[in-house]
């Protein structure tokens, strides 16, 4: 059992809900081996496949502009059977239908592997950002949004969400060999349709941050100022903190000059 299992189920419920609401939905079953995934793609995939940059004038469509809506996250589980290996679910219009459009964009990548553990969390989440590895596709370099462009050249070659999904699956399988199954959900239907995903994303991010902190701790680094899990009774720095708290108490009692926030 893995920490994200419940969220894999919640994503399934979300997809069902979108279907029940009558959203246009396509499910594509792709090959499952990394080689076959790339076999018939119209674009190149791999390091240096793209310059990493698509100019505004060269863009066929934009995905996930924050104004239009953007949400993306990754999930993984050691229960391989819970992942529909090779499945791409698209809720909303596909890229070729939307020349010049700025589409809302949701992307959920779900990976399964019997040997997956918390240690692979970081490499899995970073595969969302393919950098220069997908021809004609750019994820803008920003720490906050999945904000992307598809080039006119790539669109003319037939770039669509199946292309993107297969490329992402292949990259994930290649970067994290313990991944045995990958499934991707794309949403382009409406900004409101991203709201339930954003709620999930907030929870996933909390878990993700904990895993990141734990992984750093395993390497000998603490991400947070307080390093002992807030168990003050065993902390060698407790006298220092106690002194600081005492000073804060004194300041609160005597009042501080100016209007700096006393709780700050």
């Amino acid at each position: 059992m893995s920490i994200f299992d419940a969220y894999v189920n919640k994503v399934r419920e979300y997809v069902e809900d979108m279907g029940a609401r009558g959203r246009r939905m396509v499910q594509i079953q792709c090959p499952t081996s990394p080689v076959e995934l790339l076999d018939t793609l119209p674009i190149r995939v791999g390091p240096g496949a793209s310059s990493g940059l698509i100019l505004r004038t060269d863009s066929f469509a934009e995905l996930g502009n924050p104004e239009a809506g953007s949400c993306a996250f990754t999930l993984w589980t050691d229960r391989v059977a819970s992942i529909n290996n090779g499945r791409i679910t698209l809720i909303g219009p596909d890229i070729p239908e939307c020349p010049g459009a700025s589409l809302p964009f949701g992307q959920v990548m779900m990976a399964g592997g019997a040997n997956l553990t918390e240690k692979q969390h970081d490499p899995i989440r970073f595969t969302q950002y393919p950098s220069d590895r997908i021809e004609g596709y750019m994820v803008r370099s920003s720490s906050r949004y999945m904000w992307c462009r598809v080039s006119k050249d790539a669109a003319s070659k037939g770039f669509c969400f199946e292309t993107l999904g297969r490329a992402l699956m292949a990259i994930l399988r290649s970067d994290v060999p313990d991944v045995e199954a990958v499934e991707v959900v794309f949403v382009t239907s409406a900004k409101e349709d991203l709201e339930p995903l954003e709620e999930l994303s907030t929870q996933v991010e909390k878990i993700s941050n904990s895993l990141i902190a734990e992984n750093w701790k395993a390497k000998g680094f603490d991400l947070y100022e307080c390093s002992l899990g807030w168990d003050c009774s065993v902390c060698p720095d407790r006298p220092v903190c106690d002194d600081i708290r005492q000073i804060i108490k004194v300041r609160k009692v005597t009042g501080s000059q100016g209007e700096t926030n006393p709780e700050g």
């Binding site: 940059l53 950098s131 370099s141 920003s142 902190a213 750093w216 100016g258 209007e259 700096t260």
Partner: protein, 435 residues
């Protein structure tokens, strides 16, 4: 209650010298027809105009304040309150000829030399009566202890005892609770400013400012992408710091700033299309993960380009995320401002919370910008970041990209001299096989 402001001309002596320094730079740049020089000139022009505006308001007895780029300058603009940073000299005028003398002055005053030079200088200017006294001061108690100490000192400083001060309290984590809390802090800041300046915040005006500001951030974000091009269209001379100056300091929510960004973008897109780099033979693409060494920038960064073909592709201020402010209503506007000012503002966003910001930024920049090496300058004042140097080195090791921690003072070239920096970086480039 709005206090009676007394104009004291002697407090503006250094301020006027700074203004004249920028005016001098503008004059030099005006003589160079190169489009990049003209873009730079526009920035020095708007800098001079802000200095003039502050001096004019002071003389006429109109309210102006001291504030910060990460404390919602959109609000100052909407309230029609000209503002300056008490840390402006180290940031903006650091190449001015009097800087080293002022650093000595701060030391002679007894301010600790292990304290960030930017903060030390700012307190020195107040104590030496070289900084305009504002109607009200927005202080900063994040992201570093040094900044916090500066503002605590100012709050208790005899010379500025009559200046009302308010500091927004920054939460540590990045979540909705923190955003809600910080939005409340910004509302308290508005109440404080209204009380002490008599200016009122008009929500419609704030909405207008945010709409324009959103355009500016989007253009800035677009510009940042263009620096991914190989060769990089611009080097250290223009980029993030100028965008920062326009968007977060001098032209926040103003159409002129938006136009400047459009001009910058047009120039950069043209260079990318033509494959023109900042130098003819780009050999090393480096990520300078801090402020530029403003105190001695001309002695170091041009040398890196000329000697090593090393181009600053990205730096800390250039990698600023774009969060549009949702202008639907007052609540969404304040929450948007909270998010932007806590989690987007350069340097503040990396140094305020968990250290993973440093690692995550390095991963994205190295991969997206085709970076050959990461330089953490290790400014003596950035102890918060230097505490994360192990994390940064570790992530660079994982990425297979060389990392160097120099250890210098961005403002005082005597701390680690430019020659020592050149020597360190040269050995690093050679040892890593980059040169």
């Amino acid at each position: 209650m709005v206090r009676q402001y007394k104009y004291e001309p002697h407090l503006f002596r250094r301020y006027k010298e700074e203004r004249d320094y920028f005016s001098f730079l503008s004059g030099i740049l005006a003589q160079d027809p190169d489009p990049i020089s003209q873009l730079s000139r526009e920035i020095t022009d708007i800098t001079v105009e802000r200095y003039d505006q502050i001096m004019q308001y002071a003389e006429e007895g109109k309210p102006f304040i001291a504030g910060y780029f990460c404390a919602a300058p959109e609000i100052y603009e909407a309230m029609d309150l000209p503002w300056y940073m008490i840390m402006a000299t180290p940031f903006l005028a650091a190449s001015a000829p009097y800087l080293l003398g002022d650093i000595d002055g701060a030391e002679a005053m007894g301010l600790g030399t292990d304290w960030c030079t930017a903060c030390r200088l700012s307190l020195y200017y107040i104590e030496a009566e070289l900084t305009p006294k504002p109607w009200a001061l927005i202080g900063l108690i994040h992201p570093c202890d040094a900044g916090n100490l500066l503002h605590q000192s100012v709050a208790r400083n005899q010379k500025w005892r009559d200046v009302p001060i308010f500091a927004t309290d920054p939460p540590y984590f990045e979540d909705q609770r923190s955003i809600d809390y910080f939005a409340g802090e910004l509302r308290r800041m508005v109440a404080f400013l209204e009380e002490h300046t008599g200016h009122k915040l008009d929500l419609d005006r704030l909405r207008e400012v945010c709409i324009e500001s959103n355009k500016q951030y989007e253009l800035w974000a677009e510009y940042a992408q263009l620096r991914r091009a190989v060769p990089c269209p611009h080097g250290w001379g223009i980029g993030g710091p100028q965008c920062f100056a326009a968007v977060q300091v001098f032209q926040t929510g103003k159409p002129r700033g938006t136009q400047w960004l459009r001009n910058l973008l047009a120039n950069t897109e043209q260079r990318v299309k033509e494959g023109v780099g900042t130098i003819p033979n780009e050999k090393i693409r480096y990520f300078w993960f801090d402020l530029l060494p403003f105190g001695w920038v001309f002695e170091f960064l041009p040398w890196l380009e000329e000697e090593w073909g090393a181009v600053m592709v990205m730096e800390m201020f250039g990698f600023t995320p774009y969060t549009p402010i949702d202008i639907r209503n007052e609540d969404t506007i304040f929450k948007g401002l909270a998010k932007r000012n806590l989690y987007d503002s350069p340097m503040v966003r990396q140094a305020r919370g968990p250290a993973d910001y440093f690692a995550a930024d390095i991963v994205r920049v190295v991969k997206d910008y085709n970076i050959d090496c990461v330089i953490w300058p290790g400014h003596m004042g950035h102890k918060d970041g230097s505490a994360s140097t192990g994390i940064m080195r570790e992530i660079c090791n994982e990425l297979g990209v060389p990392y160097i921690h120099i250890g210098l003072d961005l403002f005082d070239k005597r701390y680690t001299t430019p020659d020592e920096c050149k020597d360190k970086v040269s050995k690093f480039f050679s040892a890593m096989g980059l040169g």
